[in-house]
């Protein structure tokens, strides 16, 4: 349920989408995209294109480990020299080489459609940029929006030629009322079984529920990266006095008296949200970046690439 637009604070239109959408991906965007792609290519130079060492063990020329023989194992993998020396059967394990997919999970809840600059527009640009880089430098890339569940999204795309399709899709993407990341993670796990790189772009309100979803994804051995989108309004909301607050997602209303002390608490709590998210990411070796909407998307993506947090 969307709150009426006339209830928004001056200067903080919650619905500036129509104007943004028309100029979401312009020619300048494509130019910036190509620049980012060149940067990404330099970073992955010297490696085999589209290949990443898999955490799975499989058939390749690179040895990884031994294990005891069990019935059914391929006899060709038995290490006979070890048997001669130790008198026990061991099989050789090799690192499996497989295709690497990039999954960009994009939060399209109503809370994202907020702020000036708009968080959702900013998130879509980042998603497009990452997907483009993934299509160019990895095996495949896909952008899958989520709200209360996982949307159909785009099928896996390969090569830069899919970029227009990607942009069309993102440009026409609408927000949905609410979000449930735990359910989203569950649906993603059932849809995508092969580990890949998963980038989650969201504002991460309701971190407790989001954390459960992140845990599920983490258990699936995905290489995860979190992008928290924040707007200046959220960091320092210009609210004072007796107000009727309206939830952007649900339209629920609540009368509140916002004083200076309460604002202090809010800022501390909002800062705490980012801090908790960052602590969680560090704990489980998950990439984390905060995308401020006032920072151009290309600058943000370049930072992510240069610091090797995504492509390393």
């Amino acid at each position: 349920m969307q709150p009426p637009s006339d209830t928004a604070l001056p200067g903080h239109s919650a619905r500036p989408r129509s104007r943004r959408d028309s100029s979401l991906f312009d020619a300048d965007f494509l130019t910036k995209l190509e620049t980012l792609n060149l940067i990404a290519r330099q970073l992955v130079r010297g490696r085999r294109s589209a290949l990443r060492p898999s955490i799975k063990k499989g058939a390749s020329i690179e040895f990884k480990d031994f294990r005891e023989y069990s019935p059914g194992d391929d006899p060709r993998t038995v290490d006979w020299l070890a048997y001669a020396r130790l008198g026990e059967l061991f099989v050789k394990l090799y690192r499996q080489e497989e295709e690497l997919d990039l999954w960009v999970l994009l939060d399209r809840s109503a809370s994202m459609d907020f702020g000036e600059p708009n968080k959702f527009a900013h998130a879509r640009r980042i998603a497009a940029a990452l997907a483009y880089i993934g299509m160019s430098n990895m095996d495949s890339a896909s952008v899958v929006p989520f709200d209360e569940g996982l949307a159909q999204g785009l099928p896996r795309m390969r090569g830069k030629g899919q970029v227009l399709r990607l942009m069309d899709y993102l440009e026409n993407l609408k927000t949905a009322p609410a979000t449930d990341f735990e359910k989203t993670a569950q649906m993603f796990m059932s849809r995508v079984r092969r580990p890949g790189i998963v980038v989650i772009i969201s504002d991460f309100y309701g971190l407790q529920r989001a954390r459960a979803g992140l845990d599920r994804l983490r258990f699936m051995k995905h290489q995860m990266h979190i992008v928290q989108v924040v707007s200046p309004w959220e960091r320092d909301p210009p609210l004072r006095g007796e107000l009727k607050l309206i939830d952007a997602e649900t339209g629920a209303q609540q009368n509140l008296t916002i004083t200076d002390s309460m604002l202090k608490k809010y800022k501390a709590a909002y800062e705490g949200l980012s801090t908790d998210l960052k602590a969680y990411s560090m704990k489980y070796a998950i990439g984390f970046d905060q995308a401020k909407t006032e920072v151009p998307f290309d600058e943000f993506v370049r930072g992510v690439l240069q610091h090797g947090r995504l492509l390393a």
């Binding site: 709150p3 209830t7 928004a8 604070l9 903080h12 919650a14 809370s111 994202m112 907020f114 702020g115 968080k119 504002d203 309100y205 309701g206 959220e234 909301p237 609210l239 006095g241 007796e242 107000l243 009727k244 607050l245 309206i246 939830d247 952007a248 997602e249 649900t250 629920a252 209303q253 609540q254 009368n255 509140l256 008296t257 916002i258 004083t259 200076d260 002390s261 309460m262 608490k265 809010y266 709590a269 909002y270 949200l273």
Partner: protein
Amino acid sequence: MTLLAPWALWFLVVAGGVVALYLLKIKRRAATVPALDFWLSLAGQTKVHTLWNRLKRLLSMLLWLVIVTCLILALGNPILSLGKIKPRAIAVIIDNSASMQATEKDQDNLARLALAKQAVEQLSQGRPVADEWLLIEAAREPRVLQAWTFDAKSIRTAVENLTPFGGKGDVAAAVELATQLTTGKNDPCIVVISDGSASTVPQLAAANPAVLYWPIGATNDNLGIAQLSVRPHRQNGNYQALITLVNASDTKVDTSVTLEVDGRSQSVELATIEPSSRWEKVVTIEAPTGGVLRASLDRTDALGADNEAYAVLEPIRPAVVWLVTAKESAFFFEQALGSMDELVWAEESLTITPDQFPAAWLAAHSPAKPAPADAPASDAAPETHLHKPDLVIFNGWTPEKLPSQGRFVVINNCPAELGTTTSELPEPSLHLVPRAHPLTQHITLQGAKVAKAQKITLKQPARVLANSADGDPLLFLVDQPSRQVLCLAFDVVSSDLPFRNAFPLLLRNTVSSMHEDAPSWLRESYAIGDTVRPLRALPANTTTIPAKLLHAAKQEDLSLPVTTSSFAFTNTAAPGALRVEVGGESSFAAINIGDEHESRIAVAPATEDPSEKLGLTRGLLGALPWTMLACVAAVGVVFEWLSYHLRWTE
């Protein structure tokens, strides 16, 4: 507690508004937030004491009600009378006389009238609202500035619009008027705000318990011209000016008085005046053609208005004397009159016979100047270009009926309308009545021989100047409003008076004293505040009268509109002189304060404190309620501010 400004209670509507706003829960601004739960989770931290928060809201409303109530009560200027002050009908008399224009050095050089206005304000603001008010101005005449009203603000407005009068005030008349107007009123009180008006007000207060004297002012530093009067000295051809100064201060004053005629200095008189005393001097003014005499003091004091005074010097003109006598008896009188060049206008004077008199009289009183209706008739053709006589001397003859206006000397006869001649007195002796009279000054008749006199029984009241040994009037003056007749009831020629100095002196005194001045259109002097009107009807077809108002600093040309053969000039607010031109004749009038008491500006002390007697609020009973209410309101605002900002905190 009584409110001095109960209209403030209308603001209680604001209190109603506060309640209404709280009841309606002040309309809040709507703001969309990305995640309301996030805010609610914060609010939840502070909603531990929900009941307390609700109470705080209620307390907030109550606090605002207290604040608003305090402010409204403070606006109403409350007083704590404790039942001592009860509603009264108060007639306020504000003295607006010249002495109230005196400035007080110790009070920012404010005029006493301004201080009186402040007193009225203090009085009207310090009394309960149920009082009924009346405001009277004590100026030249008492005037009601504000009729009875319960609105004290009207009193303040009326007194604020009061303009200084600057002339003599009549406080007694104002008190009398106030007494009449307070008849039947509830607990009446007459408050006289004045400088005492030369102790008049304390006396009034002592005589009438309802009168309360509210003294204004303190200074007595004033030296003023209390009087400036002038009389012509015809025999000398000059004027004698009597000037009176009053020193109201308690110090000896040395000053100088400058006398100017038409702006030209005539004399500077040095004066030393003892404290609270007066100084008088007669100064001779040489100004044969007349003019405006101005006297001024060079001393700066509290009251500047009485530092100058004006007087009018009417031109001294020789008298036109008609001698009506038989030709054979004329010589002696003609010689006597001819020796008085400075007093008698020889060119216009006539010697005529009794037969010629009626025609000459008619000619002198031409149709443009109608002769009195009772003038004697004559068939003779009137002569033309005759000047109207100032004095007519009838020798041995009188008309059957004397003209009703004029100055006449009758010798050896008595008009029938004045007395009856019963017989003759053979060789009576002539005795002067001891009482001094201008006509008989410097004369001695001791031993004068009279050959023949007439025994006269007077019909009219007359002043007998000389009589016989038996008391028969031989020289008497009938002084009537428009006519003077000096009657000599004996034959001068057949007496030995021609050989003595007495008769020429008597004749000189008569010509100089019984000189009818040219009629002026104005009175000689007016008091400040008087309305100047012409003394008689103006010529027909006159629409405007040119006039000039002369002050020390300026001359103002005026044009006075004429309605119904008269005009009214009311701008007599300051000392000066007024000149009007009517029919080619100039008439002058002096305008002065005209009262010595106004120069005596010492303030009469009051026997009791008026503010205490009236129960006016002050000190603890006055300022404290207002201050306390304002403080409570201020504390309430601070508390509410803190409450507002701490409302969502632990």
